[in-house]
Symmetry: C2
C-alpha cells in the first residue's frame, strides 16, 4: 500500500471539507426519543444516504416500524477483498436542559477548550455523528485518491440507538443475507486516553434474575411470631450473603466453567496503564477493591465474572419502624459473564442454589431478566492484530486491547443473528459529555479518526 | 371472706343491670383517631366519671393535650388494705367499612352466635369498654353487698389508646404521686381459650435499630464497577445473615446476658396447652419453626429473645431490572428482649457487630427506634399466685401464666414512671374481632369477668 502517505495527506488537506459535511449532519436535530423530531430523523437518514451515494455507494433509506435505517453497499477493489459491515447511529439524545448549553446544540462550531484543545461542539458531535463520519470521510478519501475502496463495504446506520433500538433486531433478521459481512466495524466507543487508542475485544455477558421468597401467607407481627416463624428477609439475606466466599469468588456450582485466564501479555499491558484501584475507586469515594482477591482492578472489571445484587426489598422500608415479619422478600441479582460461560447453566445453577437455601415451608418464584453470553474477539485474531498495529501507527502511544464491563446489544446481535465478530474502535474521550449539555468531540479525534480508518482499511 | 358467695350471687342477679350500664357506654361513639368524634370521647369520659361517682369514687374528668383522662379514687375498707390502680381505655377504633357490620356498631345488642354462644355486639364491646366495665361492675357489687371496697382503688381510664397514647406519659409523670399504687391491674388482654383464663406475667422488651450502609458516593453501573466496587447490599445482607448461627441463636456478643431459663413447672404447664408449632404456624401457612432449636413454640414466642430484620432495601426495587450497584442500602432490625437483657447494651453490641463487618471504605449511620426492657412479674410473686388461684376458682380450667411476645407500652410506663408491677388479666377471646367489623364480647366473658374481679379483689 505505497499510496498510504498520499491517502493520509489527502485526509489532512480535506479536513475542512470533511468538517463541513459533519456540520451539515450535526445541524439536523435527529432526537429519536421525541416523536416531534421524527421528520428530522428521516432528514438525517436521507442526508446520510445522499452522502453515501455521492461516494459511489448504492445507498437507500429503509423504513422500519420506527425511525428508518440507512443501508449502503460499495464493492471492493477486487473480488476477493474482505467484506466489512460498518455500524453507527445517526440519532441523538435530547438536549434538555437547554439553558445549560453555552451554544445552540444544533449550531455546531469549532471552539477552543482550555486554550490548547480544539473541539467540535454540539449534540451528536461525539455520540455518534462525529464518530460515524470518521469512517464515511475515510471512504471519501479513498474514493478521491484511488477511486475505489480497499474492501467491500456495507454500511448500516440506525436511528433508534438512543431509544432502545426496537427495530434493529427485526431488521437484522429480515435482511440477514444483505447485511452479513466477514466482520463488523463499530465506532461508538472511546480512547483509553487522549494519546492512546483502544480496541474493545471483550464485552461481559449478563444474566439477570429476580427471586421472590414467600414464607407466611400474610405479614406477621414480630411480637407474636418473632423467633418462631420463618422471616423471608433472613432467607433472602442469607442467599445474597452466600453468593461469594471469603476470597470474593462466586460460590455457585459450575460458575467458573468456561472462564479463561486472560493471557499474561494482555494482563501485563493492562498493568502498564496505571489504572489502579485507587484511581478507579477513588472517583466514586471508595478505596478497597471488593470482589476476587489477587486480581487487578482492570481484570476484575473487564475479564472476570461477577455476581451482584442490584436490588433487595422486604418488610417495612418507609420512615420510622414497624415490627413486621413480612410474608415476602425479594432480590434482583445479575451475573456478568466472560469467556464461554453459559447463561442458561448459570441461571439454573443459581436457581438450584436458592432452592437449596429454602426452608421446607417457604416457596420461591423466579423471574428472568435477560441473558446473553460474553462477546470476545480472540486476542490473537488477525483482525484484532491488524487493527491494533494500524492504530498504533497513527497515535502517539500504542493501541491497547481493552475489555468492557458491560454489554453493547448491537455486538451481541451481530454475533447471534449474523454470526459476525465485531471490531470496536472509537475516538471519544471520557470528558465528551455525551448525553449531557455541551457535548463535544475533539477535533483531533475527528481528524486522526479519519486517518485511523484509512490505516485500518488499508491493513485489512 | 365468708361473704364471697353473697358477692358472686349478687353479681349474677345484677347482670342485666351491669349490662345496661355497659350498653350506655357502648352507645357513645368515642373514636379517638377521628377529630370529629372528640366531643364523643369527652362524653364517654364524663359518663365514666359519673358512673364512678355513683359508686362512691372521688372521680373527675382530667384534661390533657388530647382526649381527657378519667381518674377516680376510692378508699379501702381498712387503712392497711392494699392499693391497686386499675387501667382501661374508653376510646375505640374507627368502624369503617361500615357496610361489613351486620348491625350498627354503636347500637349494642346481645346476640346468639353459632346457636350456643351469647355475645355482646358493637364497637368497643371487647376492646376495651366491655373489659373495663367488668372491673367497674365488680366494684359496684362490692358497694351493693358490703358498702365498701376490699382494697384502696385508683382508676385510670385513657381515651387515646387506639391513637398511640400521646398524652399518657406526660400525665403519668405529672400525676405520679396521685397514681402510684402497690400494683396495677390492667384489663386489656385475653383468655387462653374459652375455658382457660390467662395472666400475662412476662412481656418481651424491644430494641429497634435502623442502619444505613454507604459505599460509593453515587449509584454505579454494574458493568463498569461490578466486581470492583463495594456493593452495600452485599454488606447489609451479610450483616443480616450473620445475626443467627446454625442453631438459631443470636450471635451478638453478650446477647444472652440476663436471659433466664423459664422455670420447668411453667414450661410444663405450657407444654400441656397443646399449642404446638403446627397449630401456631399452620394458621399462617407455615410449618417449620425457625429460631432457636430445641425449644417449644410457646417458649420461643414468650420467653426467648429474638433478632428479626423487619425491613431491608437497597438498589432498584421497581418493575423490571437495573444493573445498578447502589451507593446505599439499609435495614431495620428489632430485638425482642426477655429477663434482664439491657436494651442499651444490646444496641451497643449490635452496632459494634455492624461496624466489624464494614469494609474500610464504607460508612454506616445508625438510627435508634426505641428501646425498652422486658417486663415480668416474678413467677413466684404472691400477687400472681393469688390472682391465679382466684381465676382458677371461677373458670372451668385452671388459670395459666403466659408470656406475651410483644410489649404493651402502658405496662412499661407503669414500671418505669411509677415503679409499679402490673397484673394483666382479661377476658377477650381471639375471635372477638377487635379493630374489625362485627366486634363482639362473650356475654360469659362479661359475666364471669365481673365474678373474676370480685374473687381477685377478695384474694388481694
Amino acid at each position: 500500500m505505497t499510496d498510504l502517505p498520499a491517502l493520509l495527506d489527502h485526509a489532512d488537506s480535506q479536513l475542512d471539507a470533511s468538517l463541513a459535511h459533519l456540520f451539515e449532519l450535526l445541524r439536523i436535530p435527529s432526537i429519536s426519543t421525541d416523536p416531534a423530531y421524527a421528520p428530522e430523523c428521516r432528514r438525517a437518514a436521507e442526508w446520510l444516504a445522499a452522502r453515501l451515494q455521492a461516494l459511489g455507494f448504492e445507498a437507500s433509506v429503509r423504513d422500519t416500524a420506527g425511525h428508518p435505517m440507512v443501508v449502503g453497499h460499495h464493492p471492493g477493489a477486487t473480488e476477493d477483498a474482505p467484506h466489512v459491515l460498518f455500524y453507527g447511529h445517526y440519532d441523538v439524545q435530547p438536549v434538555d436542559p437547554l439553558d445549560l448549553w453555552s451554544r445552540d446544540p444544533f449550531d455546531p462550531s469549532v471552539a477552543d477548550l482550555d486554550g490548547n484543545r480544539k473541539v467540535i461542539t454540539g449534540r451528536g458531535s461525539s455520540d455518534d455523528k462525529g464518530q460515524l463520519m470518521t469512517f464515511v470521510e475515510a471512504c471519501a478519501v479513498y474514493k478521491a485518491v484511488r477511486g475505489a475502496l480497499p474492501c467491500k463495504v456495507t454500511i448500516l446506520f440506525e436511528g433508534e440507538e438512543e431509544s432502545g433500538s426496537p427495530s434493529l433486531k427485526p431488521f437484522l433478521e429480515a435482511n440477514a443475507g444483505e447485511l452479513t459481512a466477514d466482520y463488523a466495524l463499530v465506532c461508538d466507543t472511546g480512547m483509553w486516553d487522549a494519546d492512546t487508542p483502544a480496541i474493545a475485544a471483550t464485552l461481559r455477558g449478563l444474566v439477570g434474575e429476580e427471586f421472590v421468597v414467600t414464607a407466611a401467607d400474610r405479614d406477621l407481627h414480630s411480637g407474636m411470631f418473632g423467633g418462631a416463624a420463618a422471616n423471608p428477609i433472613h432467607i433472602v439475606a442469607d442467599i445474597c450473603a452466600g453468593l461469594h466466599d471469603e476470597t470474593g469468588r462466586v460460590t455457585l456450582d459450575g460458575f467458573y466453567d468456561g472462564v479463561e485466564e486472560t493471557p499474561s501479555n494482555i494482563k501485563a499491558s493492562w498493568d502498564k496503564l496505571g489504572r489502579d484501584s485507587a484511581s478507579l475507586l477513588g472517583e466514586v469515594g471508595l478505596s478497597v477493591p471488593s470482589g476476587e482477591k489477587g486480581r487487578s482492578i482492570l481484570e476484575l472489571t473487564w475479564a472476570r465474572p461477577t455476581a451482584e445484587v442490584n436490588g433487595i426489598t422486604g418488610g417495612y422500608t418507609g420512615q420510622g419502624f414497624k415490627t413486621v415479619i413480612p410474608g415476602q422478600a425479594s432480590a434482583k441479582v445479575s451475573f456478568r459473564l466472560v469467556g464461554q460461560q453459559d447463561p442458561a447453566k448459570i441461571r439454573e445453577s443459581f436457581r438450584a442454589y436458592v432452592r437449596s437455601k429454602l426452608p421446607a415451608d417457604c416457596s420461591v418464584a423466579f423471574h428472568e431478566h435477560g441473558g446473553s453470553p460474553a462477546i470476545h474477539l480472540s486476542y490473537d485474531s488477525p483482525l484484532l492484530q491488524k487493527a491494533q498495529a494500524a492504530l498504533s501507527d497513527e497515535w502517539p502511544k500504542p493501541a491497547i486491547v481493552v475489555g468492557m464491563g458491560g454489554s453493547i446489544p448491537i455486538v451481541g446481535d451481530f454475533q447471534k443473528l449474523l454470526g459476525m465478530e465485531s471490531l470496536l474502535v472509537g475516538f471519544g474521550l471520557s470528558d465528551d459529555r455525551i448525553h449531557s449539555p455541551n457535548e463535544k468531540y475533539e477535533l483531533r479525534s475527528f481528524h486522526k479518526g479519519i486517518r485511523s480508518w484509512i490505516r485500518i482499511l488499508a491493513a485489512l
